[in-house]
Structure formats: C-alpha cells, structure tokens
Amino acid sequence: MSEPILEVRGVSKHFGGIYANQDISLDVPKGAIIGLIGPNGSGKSTLFGSITGYHPIDAGSIRYEGREIKHLRTAEIARLGLIRTFQQTHVYDEMDCVRNMLISRPLRGGDLRSLLHHPSAEDRERAEDLLEFVGLASKRHLLAGSLSFGQQKLLEFAMALMNEPDLLLLDEPTAGINPTLINGLIDRLRQANERFGVTLFVIEHNMRVMMNLAQEIHVLAGGRLIASGEPRDIQNDPRVIEAYLGGS
C-alpha cells in the first residue's frame, strides 16, 4: 500500500489500574479505509483519544504525515486535518444545523484573524449540500440539541465531512442509524474516500458495515492489537472469533 498517513508505534495508555491500550502499533495508509474492531472496553475509543491528543499517552509515538504529534493539543491536531467524531454524540446544542455546519468549516492556521470573516456563499452551499445528503435538509433550522439521537449522529458526520479532513476517525458512525440509511452512509464514505482522497479509520461493531467498507481491519482485545488483515481473513481468524465474533 501507499505511504502511511498515520503511524502508531508502541502506544500505551492506562487509566488508574485499567490498561486501555498496551503497546499498540499500526499504520494507516494514505487514501485507505481502515477498520478497527474489538469487544466493548477493548480500548478502541481510547486509541482514537490517544491519536487525537485527548489524553497524554504513557508511551509510544504517533506520527501524522511523518510528524510527531503526541505533544500537540487536540485543536492543533485537528487543524492539521485529522478530525474525529465521538461515540456519544457531540453537536452544538443551542445552534441550528446550518450553523453547526458553518462552524465546522476547516480552519487550518489557527490564526484568530482568519476567524474575523463572514462565512462565504460557498460555505453555505456546501453546508446545505451535506445536510441534504444526511437527510437533515428539512431540519436545517432546528436546534441541534432537539434532534433525535440518530439525527445528531448524522449531523455530526456531516460536520466532519464539512471540515474536509485528510484523515477522518469515525467512532461507531452507524450506531443508532436506520439500516437503510447505513447503506447510504457507506456509499458516501466510499465517495469521500475515492473523490476527495479522505483517509478513513473507522470503529464499528456492525460487521455488515465493516465487511463492506474496510480494506483492512485491526482487532483490539484487552487493550492489545491481536490481529490485522483483510476483512475476509479477519472474519475467519480463530483469535478474532474467540475474542470478538463469537466463541465456540
């Protein structure tokens, strides 16, 4: 595969007595769609947190586009084009959907002066487009806090795309989404990947999604990386079946 956009090397992270990540190393190649699966509590979200600077890591290194980012803060990392979504929905409750989208326009430099402009017509158009796509066009002027759980999830996804990330970490994007719409989401993810070259790194419990989307899957269990490989291999890997997909 191509150059890695993200290199995770020997990352460990513990909370009190719980070792959530232990010595994890993996690569995310540029332009790929990579999956991350594992039982509940195996440390998947924690790994996302470690990568995006949510908490300092105990050991290891994280390189993004060849550059060490473990010392950077979340916002700085995000400004490099590495964006994540959350398992529990995170939207701006008291603002309507359009504003939620407009705020999500990328801000690369982090310079305050770049904030002193009004959103352009282009931004608005793009925001409307994305809302249309996730089926929230008719809700565009509702406050995000009053959307249903699934709708918030969709909005959050649209916001992430609005940010035009280079690498997008999605934490269970389809949890709570209607199965038919999930198909659409997968389609759109593929488009984003193919057309705009967004690299995707996705956590999912829904194997239907994983099998149809991911080119390569990493499996965590008990905070350790226990297997990596193509979806088909993973599905038949005895260790993965034992730890996750279902024991004898």
Binding site: R79, R105, H118
Partner: protein, 350 residues
Amino acid sequence: MAQARTSQWIASLAFLAIAIAAPFVLPNNMSQLVDLMVFILIALSWDMLGGQMGYNSFGNILFFGIGMYLVASTQVWMGGYSLAEYNSAKGGNLESFVVTAPVYVTSLIIGLAAAAVLNYFVGLFVGSQLLQTRGHYFAVGTLGLGVAAGEFAGTMDVLGGGSGMNFLQPPEGVNLTMLLYWLGLGTVMLFIAFLIWLHRTRFGFVMNAIRDNEDKAEAMGLPTNKVKSVSWAVAAVFTAIAGGLYGAGKNFIDPTEVAFSLPTIGVWMLLMPLMGGKGTLWGPILGAVLFQLFKEFFWTYLFGWQRVALGLLIVIIVVFFPDGVMGGINALRERLFGKAKSAGESGEAA
C-alpha cells in the same frame, strides 16, 4: 440574513436617537442616565462571556475596579501631582489639588484609554489562566478573585487604603455628568457596532460553539483558548471604561463598596443580561434599562423594603422568565405571527 442585518442597524439607530434625546427630555436624571450607560456597558461585556460563551464570570468586577482606580490615578498624575501625596490625607485631599478644565477633560479621556489598554492585557492574562477551569469552578474562582481584589486594594496606602480615594474635583466650566454621558454613549455605540459585526464573523460562531460544546469545538480544531481569552479581554476593556465613568460620576472610590463591590455592581452585571435575555445583543441592553427603572422605582417608593422588592424581582424573573424579556417577546411574536424567522436566523442575529 440581509434583512436581519438591516433590522439590527435600524434598532441601533433607534437606540441612538432615543439616547441623544434623553438628556433633553430628562435633564434632572442625568446621573441616572450616566449610570444607565455604565450598566449597558457592563451588561454587554458580561454577556460576551456569560451569554455568548457560557462562562459565568463573577470576576468582571475586577476590571471595573481597576479601571476606576486607574482613571482616578491618571487624572491626579496628569494634573502634575504625586499620587502618594494626594492620597496621604487618606481619601484624597482635594483643596490643594486643582486642575484646569482642559487638563481635567483630557486626563479623563486618557485615563479611560489607559484603563482600556491595561485591562485588555489583564483580561488576556487572567483569562488565559482562569478560563482553563469550567462551570462552577470558574464561577467561584472568578468570585474569589473579585473579592480578593477589593480587599487588597483596601490595603494599598498609595490608593488611600481602606479610606478610599476621591476623584479630582471637576473644575468650573466642566459639566461632568454631561461629559460622562456623551463619553458613555459613544462607548456604548462603539460596542454595539462591534458586537453586531463580531457576531456575524466566525469568531462569534466559535464563541457560541464554546458555550454549546467545548470538547467538540476543540476536536474540530477551533482555537478555543485564544477565543476565550481574547473575548474576556475585550469584555475587560469595556468593563474598565464603565468603571472609570462610574467612578468619575460618583467622585468617591471605596475599595470594597464602590470599586470592587461584588454584592451590588458585581451581581447586577449578570442580573441585567438575564433580565433582558442573555446570549442576545439587545437583551442585556433592555435588561440594563429595565433594571435601572426598577431599581430607581423601588428605591423611591418601597423605602425600607427596596431590597426585598429587588430580591423578589430577581426570583420572579429567573423563575418565570427563563429567557428574559427578549425570550418573552420572541415567544409572543411567534404566537402572534407564527414562526416568522426560524430559530437559526434570529440566533444569528443575536
């Protein structure tokens, strides 16, 4: 969108027109009008943090007090006197310290400017530190700072210590209340224009984003720390100017009861936005006007029970008008005319 913008400007012009007419209509209420300008300034600046960003600060009184002392001191210093000498008869010895009218006016304006500049940096610094805490911790942390500031000011002999400090007496030919009123009104208009502009920029959006979900804002790469400190610093600038105007109007500074008076001004500045509707532009202004009216009414007609009345008023407002008067008006308008503007557009207009 464009329509919302015009209505903002129309409202501003209407406000300006009323404010210009006010001294002629109410010549006997000049000092109340000066106070009103001060209140509008502190309400709007408090709202930048409390309403727009969701950080409830009790510490803005810090800038108010610093501004006040700074203006008074600048005047003494520009009058060519030593501050320590001036305050050596504690409270300020006015008879032997006189200035001419031009010196008085210029020193007042320069003092206000100095207060603005200095407090910008104080706000930036304090903000960069204290704004790292959130919620209750932030509220009580700033409260501690506000109270401590007053107590320490009372120990500084060069500022007159616990005996306080007088402003210089305005010389003959200076109509102080008029001067303060026009200065206050000018600052208010400047602030309003600034806020109208600011809330349309992405900076304004980010302020709201911080209020709604700071974690998310960070994850999306927004420079939350910078935005928070700078907003507070801007709020500090206008609060400090307000402090200077208020002090000059009252003429006498007492460290804990005039300059850093938490139980009065310090609480009023958050009460007013709440009364009017926080997180909006016109809410705090409306709140300041209403508050001033209520306060004066209570103090005149409910003698001896005025605080009881004020307390009850506060309780009634927070219990029954959670979104302030603006919220009530919007609800009424929606009921009468349907949802004329969507929540989003009027949110943006805020």
